[in-house]
Symmetry: C2
Subunit: 353 residues, 2 copies
């Protein structure tokens, strides 16, 4: 038989209202009484019925997180940072996956919203924000993560993807690459911003980018290494194959390296390869992979802090407008771009990462 709030009240000879207020740390209740209630709660193993409390406080203590792929280490690491910070304040994260499918994403959000979330974090696979507008109208704080939309005002936490493209491209140019290709990500803001960072940097250095050097790789999910394999085959079939490739992410870059080794191409001498995300596994693969560290765990932690700022703000003091938290990444050089020149310290972090 579960212990009820009334048992605690009877036991301490105080009213049910006092116990209820004490449990919510209401200022009406003295610290001493709050401590007595807390001690009794501990002793009796009382578990507050959060479904009932949710009706009273309007808070579910649940934060939803829709990720495009549970298997992608980037989102796993973001989720880890997000959960760690929210957990300390008693909030739980419901994670669900859209499998990079915009339609499934809408259904997931629809289901999640039925749970009266205190906040919803979405790494969206939509190509426009149309489907996300109703969330904001419903009053549930919406935090876009990793991916944002032009002309859609919402909280955002993510990387400076334009700068990530710039850092990776400048590194390839610095080690002597002249014919640099880009394996492009999905049509989300990271995909288009990294592409723009790449193109602008190439232009700035007076380097040509023939159209066949931009390969569309599809989504960067767990099967992304297969996209990398296919993309390298296409690039190697060109009359003038590239001498450097900037890949949208590390999973794609891993596939490129797998295929390069299979074709007997010397990485980094004949072909230098750099990814983005700085996955833990980068040091384990055939040729250890250079990358731009996105600080994925920190992205999750910052998102959690933003949520706490929003939901814990006292009535009437809610911050106006939306907040953008943009983290700067840093270059991590490993063997895949280590040509023994100036940036040749393997595993050395360069920049703010």
């Amino acid at each position: 038989m579960a212990v009820k709030m009334k048992d605690i009240a009877d036991d301490l000879g105080i009213s049910l209202v006092t116990v209820s207020k004490a449990l919510r740390n209401h200022p009406d209740i003295s610290l001493k009484t709050r401590e007595r209630v807390a001690a009794r709660v501990q002793e009796l193993g009382y578990r507050p019925n959060l479904a009932a409390r949710s009706l009273v406080t309007g808070r579910s203590m649940l934060v939803g997180f829709v990720v495009p792929d549970l298997m992608h280490p980037f989102f796993a690491d973001v989720a880890k940072g997000l959960s760690a910070v929210l957990r300390e304040k008693g909030y739980f994260v419901i994670i669900s996956s859209s499998e990079e499918d915009p339609e499934l994403e809408c259904k997931e959000i629809e289901h999640m919203m039925a749970h009266r979330l205190d906040a919803l974090v979405v790494a969206s696979s939509q190509s426009s924000a149309e489907a996300l507008a109703p969330i904001q109208q419903s009053g549930t704080p919406l935090i876009l993560l990793d991916r944002y939309f032009d002309n859609f005002e919402a909280h955002f936490v993510g990387s400076d993807d334009y700068n990530a493209g710039k850092i990776a491209t400048e590194h390839l140019i610095e080690i002597g690459c002249k014919r640099i290709a880009h394996i492009q990500g999905p049509d989300t803001s990271p995909g288009s911003r990294r592409l723009k960072g790449f193109l602008d940097t190439m232009r700035k250095h007076g380097l040509e980018v023939p159209p066949e050097y931009i390969i569309k790789a599809g989504s960067g999910d767990v099967e992304g290494d297969e996209h990398g394999i296919q993309a390298l085959r296409t690039l190697q079939s060109l009359k003038r194959p590239p001498d450097g490739i900037f890949c949208f992410n590390d999973v794609i870059a891993s596939g490129v390296i797998l295929e390069a080794v299979a074709q007997g191409i010397d990485v980094p001498k004949t072909l230098a390869v750099i990814g983005c995300g700085n996955l833990h596994s980068n040091r384990l693969i055939r040729v250890p992979l250079s990358s731009v560290d996105q600080r994925s765990n920190e992205i999750g932690r910052r998102a959690a802090k933003l949520i706490l700022d929003i939901v814990q703000a006292p009535e009437g003091t809610k911050p106006a407008g939306t907040k953008r938290v943009v983290l700067q990444g840093g270059l991590v050089v490993r063997a895949s771009t280590d040509r023994g020149g100036i940036s040749s310290r393997p595993g050395k972090k360069i920049g703010k990462g």
Copy 2:
């Protein structure tokens, strides 16, 4: 202003009770009425208040899943299978991580239970079931995943870890290894069962296992590759280093291969290496890694089906006792054990995997 159940009732000229029953697919309500209600719900964008409904039905539509590590691809894949099946029936999975810390696990469970879960799935880091007993007493269905406890009766879904140890060890013996070491996992059932499968198989083949050939690697989390590196250094410092290693999991095995390559050891000729789990990344690493496929996604799906059987059983027909679902894995041979002999077809699955 949110649409309420009453708006739908008024709109259709039926009672609130009828709408409520229709939304729960109550047999009192005709199919035609249920369809009319469903159509109106769709048009008006009504979202049932699940917090309120939970008080009526006693169901939260939430399933908790405590994993030891969000970053470990095995648990990410299990979570994916679990979520996919439960989602179809409107259930959501709350994932949280214990970081392989038994004390944190207790706190996570405590918090989760406050949410009135319909079921709790735990891949436990405890060394005994003491902390899990109160869950069963509370009446919330408990499903142990991947790890079980002797003398603790509970639902279980996981691999046949004894057989995994046997399959891996027999493969190493078959390709000619004589001095086989084992890098042991944590003190959970997979760790002890794989060890026992290894030891029994070695004994059956009359092969000696000196005590220094059993290395304790600590927990198999994302930093497990570091454990593999350290373990190989210890083994290589022996007077007679092993010619084969069965590693508790693929992450540890990846570290062993990284260190073997660094030391200039020929894998698989001088040293054959096999892991367990068959991670997607196995084909990407320095020497592609042989493994025992645990069918992680299927473990998640089976756990979901078991949960649905339990929570959707009509009153009075709940299945008595507990259920054990034990999946058989299969051998997957790659370069790390491919010595050109009988089991030399790289990537070829052998067995039931």
